[in-house]
Symmetry: none
Subunit: 207 residues, 4 copies
Amino acid sequence: MAKVTQAHIEARKGAILRAAARMFVRKGVDAATMQEIAAEADLSAGAIYRYFPSKDDLLRAVCGGAVDATREMFDRATATTSSARAALHEIGTAAWAKLSDPASREDVMLGLESTLAAVRQGDVLGDERRQVNRAIIEMLTGLIREAQASGEIDAGVDADALAATLLACHLGTGLLALQLGGEVDTDAIHEVVAHVIDRLAPAASRS
Amino acid sequence: MAKVTQAHIEARKGAILRAAARMFVRKGVDAATMQEIAAEADLSAGAIYRYFPSKDDLLRAVCGGAVDATREMFDRATATTSSARAALHEIGTAAWAKLSDPASREDVMLGLESTLAAVRQGDVLGDERRQVNRAIIEMLTGLIREAQASGEIDAGVDADALAATLLACHLGTGLLALQLGGEVDTDAIHEVVAHVIDRLAPAASRS
Amino acid sequence: MAKVTQAHIEARKGAILRAAARMFVRKGVDAATMQEIAAEADLSAGAIYRYFPSKDDLLRAVCGGAVDATREMFDRATATTSSARAALHEIGTAAWAKLSDPASREDVMLGLESTLAAVRQGDVLGDERRQVNRAIIEMLTGLIREAQASGEIDAGVDADALAATLLACHLGTGLLALQLGGEVDTDAIHEVVAHVIDRLAPAASRS
Amino acid sequence: MAKVTQAHIEARKGAILRAAARMFVRKGVDAATMQEIAAEADLSAGAIYRYFPSKDDLLRAVCGGAVDATREMFDRATATTSSARAALHEIGTAAWAKLSDPASREDVMLGLESTLAAVRQGDVLGDERRQVNRAIIEMLTGLIREAQASGEIDAGVDADALAATLLACHLGTGLLALQLGGEVDTDAIHEVVAHVIDRLAPAASRS
DNA sequence: TATGAATGAGCGTTCATTCAT
DNA sequence: AATGAATGAACGCTCATTCAT
């Protein structure tokens, strides 16, 4: 019995989480009502409170989920490549693919939404959110250093700064895509970024 | 009578605008209450309505101000340089300088805040906001084309995509700075970006 | 569950409707607050919105109820009589009986209240309200024509005008009763009206 | 100086009173704001308070004025006729003429508005308002008694009730006209009423 | 005397949260 | 475990009234 119940609980939590993410994105964290989230999860208004003690906690959980998804995506990308630069390109491709996918527009908005929330009320979901980007930068920095060591990228470039730049580029592309919709060609931006990485090869190796 | 009143009116409007910007940023557009904005402007709640007919209009005005400021900044930067690439660098410097200034953190957040609002309820301030970034991309594209024509930038690069990339980079840097605070070295990112632009010079021109 | 809920819902709606009618009359549509209406219905302020989407809808519902009641009253009166003049008298008796009943003072005030509202903001409940009196006049006109055809009323009288006059008399009596309270003998007015109808018999039939 | 000032004060009071009456009628007592009334009187918002201590007092004064106007109209009508029945007809003609005049629609609405207000908050303007109709009924009763004495009206009719009936008819006609606008032919109603009064002549006198 | 900016109480309405069922 | 009716605090906004000028 315990097992079944436990499974049910997790299933419900997941359903609520998905419903909440959907509504947070569709209408904004503030405008999304618990009623709507409950309806989206085929539940009644009060039922959510059996699984999450408050709307804030729900937001935290939703963002935490987004964080995990991102981390996973990253791990997968690095695992399937050998050269450091190849890994960087693979990660870039995966990351920008998400931006082309209309479905991921929601993730971008959730990211912005939670970034704003994080900046404002540092306690609710600040640290968690912060750590994702910090971790991404660290990973990218590591890969860039590897690429520099193997002569794929000019050693004169500040690895940490380049990592931050790449992440900024990706976040900014998402923001633009969000705002300008189809007007902005995210793939073209990706090509520019990929091209730039190639250009950052040491002068000697490009003769 | 008229003089004092007219001056007062403009002063009040400015004070309210500043107070609103401050509160919108500090607590978010939705969470910021008219009471708080009024208090921040040393006014009573209802007094704001003598100057702005609704909270939405206040938001619009605040964002409109940000928009104007951005446009001005751009115009100034382009006016004081001769070569296209120099103009790009000048603009980059000016743009990134704003990110270093803790005071401009507010502008970034307002931008995000209004982007989210624009995406969701396109009517309130969507178009205006959208057009700013569209205009920026167009201007950058123009400068890049000039630089390509004068041999400062490789003609093989998609000018429009590069323009979008640069803007995305800047927006993303702002976002990161917002989230990670002092941990992220925005000036270092700027250096990387400037360096990348240099690297985009045609191969021939680079010895 | 369903049974109890459904019954409760209707009961609540009724209670709210009655409370609203009471407060609209007691303090005026504008002065009556949702808080007061809720309190009168032993509910909290926000609870009303589960049953009626706005104060305007509540007003509409309250007036619609009054309308239905009036129509019913009329139908009943006409159904139980044979001669047209008898029907007229029956209707008069029923109508004036309502005026004697202190409880119906509320209906009169609601009528005035909604007339004023209708005249000013035709949309909210104007047409509905208007049609009631229009319908009443039409019905009365029909009966008067019948009575004229059967020689009970002088054919020289303008049936439509007489119908309007009778309705005006009734409305005005209500108004007077409202204003002068017990000082005005509504039954005496009714007698006068009934007597007048008799006097309107064709000269020939009065030997 | 005192005289001039006094005259000015009265002029201002009159202007404010007229402006208030106009706005009370146009938008309803509650919806009419002091700002609007002031604007209508070419005054600033606060200036009214030099002449009337509150909006309630303004309402009282406005209604008092309407009362006086009515009384005057009545006096004039009775002064110019000899026979009692002629006076009744004259009064009827004058009264109904006001209903035909679109400008007097405002008076009707003010009357209803103030009746409602009187019924609800008996102190503010209740008694004054009440006395007008009481006085009218008394006057009519007197005339009817005279007419009965001189054989113009059947002595069997309850004079007081007939007076109330006539007043009710007039009030109700105003109400109907208000609600149904041009659809209701107030003059036709007047004809009916006049005709009815004729029919109330003693049987003997009608051969 | 007149202005009109400012106040502040109060309105209709919404919604996170609770709790009897 | 789940419901959904109810609460109550707060929000945006309006306006009668006050008061420095």
